[in-house]
C-alpha cells in the first residue's frame, strides 16, 4: 500500500554543501509529523522540497502516488505557515484569508462563507477588518494558519511558526494548533528545533541530523528507545556511560561492576539512563556531589564519578530517601529495566 506522502531518497546540494541526502519517509493522511533537529540538519530543506521552493538534485516527492517534482509551488495545493510573519500588509485579516480563494476565482458567496468559517476556527472573528500591523505576533500567525487552511490544502506545512513568540504564548498556540488538527483532520508537517514542542504536538517525530534522518518514531520511541547517542542526547537529558557487558554484569570505567545485567549482547556498549531514573542508593556507582539544585518538585544533582564523568540525577523531593549535599560522597543506582543499551 502506498503512503499519502512519500519521500524517496531525496538529495539536495547547495554548491559543495550537501543539505540533505537519502531522505526517505512515508507519511499517512491525517498524521501530525514533526521534523526535529538542530539548525542546519536538513529539516527545513526537506520541508521546502515538499513545498516546491527547493528542487531536489535526486529523489522524488510523491503525493497520493503522483510525483510533485517539477510541479510549481502554486500548483501543489499545499498550505504553509512560515517562520516570519507573511501576512500581506496591505490587506485586512479577512482579505488575507480570502486571497487564496480569490486567486482560485471561487464564487463570492463561497469565499465569504469560507472566510467566516476560518475566522471562527482560529477565534479571530472580531479582528476581521484589522490590518496585519494592528495584530500581535500570535494573532498574525493564527491568521496565517487560517489563510493556509482556507483552500483545504492536501498538506499543511509549518516552518517553526512559533519561534518568534514568547514561551507562554507559544504554549497557548500549540494547544490551538492541536485543536485545529483534530477539528480539520489535515495532514501536518511541522518543523521545529524545540524537542518539547515536538513531543507536545506530534503523532510521530522525524529526527534529523547532518542532512539525514536519525530516527523516526513516536515521542516515546525516541525518548525511551533512542537508536543513537545523538537521539538520546537531543531528546531530553540523558547519562551515557561506556560499559563492558560480560556474564550478566556491567563493568564501568572505574572498575565497578553492576550485577543483574541480563542483556543478550556482550562486549563494549554504551548505556543510557535518564536522570529521573537514577537515584541515590546504598550500593552502586561512587561519586561526589558537585551541584545540587532545588527545583521544588525535584532535586537535580550533578555527581562526578571516579572516571571523571558528570552524571545528572533528578530525584523526586518526597521520594528521596537520601538527601545529599555538595562535596558529599554518594552512591548512585538505577533499576535495570530502565537502563537502555544504545544499539549503535
Amino acid at each position: 500500500m502506498s503512503a499519502y506522502l512519500e519521500l524517496r531518497n531525496l538529495r539536495k546540494e547547495f554548491g559543495d554543501f550537501v543539505a540533505i541526502d537519502n531522505i526517505s519517509l512515508r507519511i499517512e493522511k491525517g498524521e501530525f509529523i514533526t521534523f526535529l533537529g538542530p539548525s542546519g540538519s536538513g529539516k527545513s530543506t526537506t520541508l521546502y522540497a515538499i513545498a516546491g521552493f527547493v528542487e531536489p538534485n535526486a529523489g522524488d516527492v510523491l503525493l497520493n502516488g503522483r510525483s510533485l517534482v517539477g510541479v510549481a509551488p502554486n500548483h501543489r495545493d499545499i498550505g504553509m505557515v512560515f517562520q516570519r510573519y507573511t501576512l500581506f500588509p496591505h490587506l485586512s485579516v479577512a482579505e488575507n484569508i480570502a486571497f487564496p480563494l480569490r486567486v482560485r476565482r471561487r464564487p463570492k458567496a463561497e469565499i465569504e462563507a469560507k472566510v467566516a468559517q476560518m475566522l471562527e476556527l482560529v477565534h479571530l472573528t472580531p479582528m476581521r477588518a484589522r490590518k496585519p500591523a494592528q495584530l500581535s505576533g500570535g494573532q498574525q500567525q493564527r491568521v496565517a494558519l487560517a489563510r493556509a487552511l482556507a483552500y483545504d490544502p492536501q498538506i499543511l506545512l509549518m516552518d517553526e511558526p512559533l519561534s518568534a513568540l514568547d514561551k507562554k504564548l507559544r504554549e497557548d498556540i500549540q494547544g490551538e494548533i492541536k485543536r485545529i488538527h483534530a477539528e480539520t483532520g489535515v495532514t501536518i508537517i511541522y518543523v521545529t528545533h524545540d524537542q518539547e514542542e515536538a513531543l507536545r504536538l506530534s503523532d510521530r517525530i522525524v529526527l534529523f541530523n547532518h542532512g539525514g534522518i536519525e530516527q523516526v518514531g513516536t515521542g516515546e520511541d525516541l525518548y525511551d528507545r533512542p537508536r543513537s547517542s545523538f537521539a538520546a542526547g537531543f531528546i531530553g537529558n540523558s547519562n551515557l556511560i561506556e560499559i563492558r557487558l560480560d556474564a550478566g554484569a556491567a563493568h564501568l570505567p572505574d572498575g565497578t561492576s553492576l550485577r543483574h545485567f541480563n542483556h543478550p549482547d556482550q562486549g563494549a556498549k554504551r548505556l543510557m539512563v535518564r536522570p529521573e531514573d537514577m537515584h541515590l542508593a546504598a550500593e552502586g556507582i561512587a561519586g561526589q556531589v558537585t551541584e545540587r539544585i532545588y527545583l521544588g518538585d525535584v532535586i537535580a544533582y550533578t555527581v562526578r564519578t571516579g572516571w571523571g564523568q558528570d552524571l545528572s540525577i533528578r530525584a523526586q523531593r518526597r521520594a528521596a530517601q537520601h538527601q545529599a549535599y555538595i562535596g558529599e560522597t554518594v552512591k548512585i543506582d538505577f533499576n535495570r529495566e530502565q537502563a537502555y543499551i544504545i544499539p549503535e
Binding site: 509551488p73 502554486n74 498550505g79 512560515f82 507573511t86 500581506f88 493556509a148 483552500y151
Partner: protein, 266 residues
C-alpha cells in the same frame, strides 16, 4: 559626549543665529526671485516699485513657454513611467535573483549618478546623431531615462530588500503564479518605494539642463533649456515667473511625497 541643547547656555543664541543665517543665505535668492515675479518694473528692479500679476498672464499667453512646459511634462511623464517599469524589472533581478555578477550589475546600474553629465551629454549626442535620434522626443526620453533609472533602481531595490521574500513564497503557495504574486502582493508592499522612484525620476527629468541642451532642437525644448536660452538673451520678468512656477511645482511634489510616506508608515 552627549550634547544637550538646553544645557548650552548662551551658546544657544550663537548656534541659533548661525543656523538662521545659513537658512537665510540658502533661501533668500529663491525668495528674491519669487518677489521679482510679482515686480511691476520690467527691469527686475528691487525693491519692487509695485506689485502685478501681468508677467504671469504674459507667460501663460506665450505659446513658446506653454510648448516647453508641455514638452517638459510629457517628457517627465514618459521618463517616469519607463524608469519605474525598468526599475521594477532591474530591482527584482538584483534583490531576488542569484546569478554571477549580480553585485557588479548593481554597481553598473548606478554609474550614471557619478558620471559627469556633460560627458554623458556629449557621448549620447554623438551616438544619437548617428542613430538619427538627436533632437527627437524618443532621443530625449532615452537620454533622461539613463539619468533617472539609477534613482528608480535604488529606491525599488531598497524597498524589495526590505520586504521579506517569504511574502512572495506565501503568495505562491496560496496559488498565485510568480508574477501574479509579485503584482498582487509585492507591488502593494513596496508601493512607497515605487512612489519615491516615480518622484525622483520625474524630478531628474524635470530640472535637468546639461544633457537636455544636447538633446534639444529649436522645435523641442524643455522648460529649463528655454529658460537658459532666455536668460542669455534678455533678462525679463518671465524668467522669474517660470522659476517661481518650477519651485511651486517641486514643492507640491515633495509635499505629496511627504503625505504618501506618512501614509505608508502607518
Amino acid at each position: 559626549m552627549l550634547m544637550e541643547f538646553s544645557l548650552l547656555g548662551w551658546w544657544r543664541v550663537v548656534l541659533s543665529a548661525v543656523a538662521g543665517l545659513a537658512a537665510l543665505f540658502l533661501l533668500a535668492p529663491l525668495g528674491l526671485l519669487i518677489a521679482l515675479s510679482f515686480d511691476s518694473s520690467q527691469w527686475l528692479q528691487f525693491p519692487p516699485p509695485g506689485w502685478t500679476l501681468q508677467w504671469y498672464a504674459q507667460v501663460f499667453a506665450d505659446p513658446n513657454w506653454l510648448a516647453s512646459l508641455l514638452t517638459s511634462l510629457e517628457l517627465g511623464a514618459v521618463v517616469t513611467l519607463a524608469s519605474v517599469l525598468l526599475g521594477l524589472l532591474a530591482g527584482f533581478a538584483i534583490a531576488r535573483g542569484s546569478f554571477p555578477g549580480r553585485e557588479t550589475l548593481r554597481g553598473f546600474f548606478l554609474t550614471p549618478m557619478i558620471m559627469p553629465s556633460i560627458v554623458l551629454g556629449i557621448a549620447l549626442y554623438a551616438v544619437f546623431l548617428r542613430l538619427h535620434l538627436a533632437g527627437t522626443f524618443l532621443g530625449f526620453v532615452l537620454a533622461h531615462l539613463v539619468l533617472a533609472l539609477p534613482f528608480s533602481i535604488v529606491a525599488i531595490t531598497g524597498a524589495l530588500e526590505a520586504t521579506d521574500k517569504s511574502l512572495e513564497d506565501a503568495a505562491m503557495l496560496c496559488g498565485a503564479g510568480l508574477w501574479e504574486a509579485r503584482v498582487r502582493v509585492i507591488l502593494p508592499a513596496i508601493r512607497h518605494g515605487i512612489f519615491s522612484a516615480a518622484i525622483f525620476s520625474f524630478l531628474t527629468s524635470w530640472d535637468e539642463v546639461v544633457v537636455a541642451i544636447f538633446m534639444a532642437s529649436p522645435g523641442l525644448q524643455t522648460l529649463p533649456v528655454r529658460m537658459l536660452g532666455e536668460v542669455r538673451q534678455n533678462l525679463s520678468p518671465d524668467i522669474a515667473v517660470v522659476s517661481s512656477l518650477l519651485v511651486l511645482g517641486t514643492l507640491l511634489l515633495m509635499g505629496l511625497a511627504a503625505i504618501f510616506n506618512k501614509d505608508a508608515k502607518r
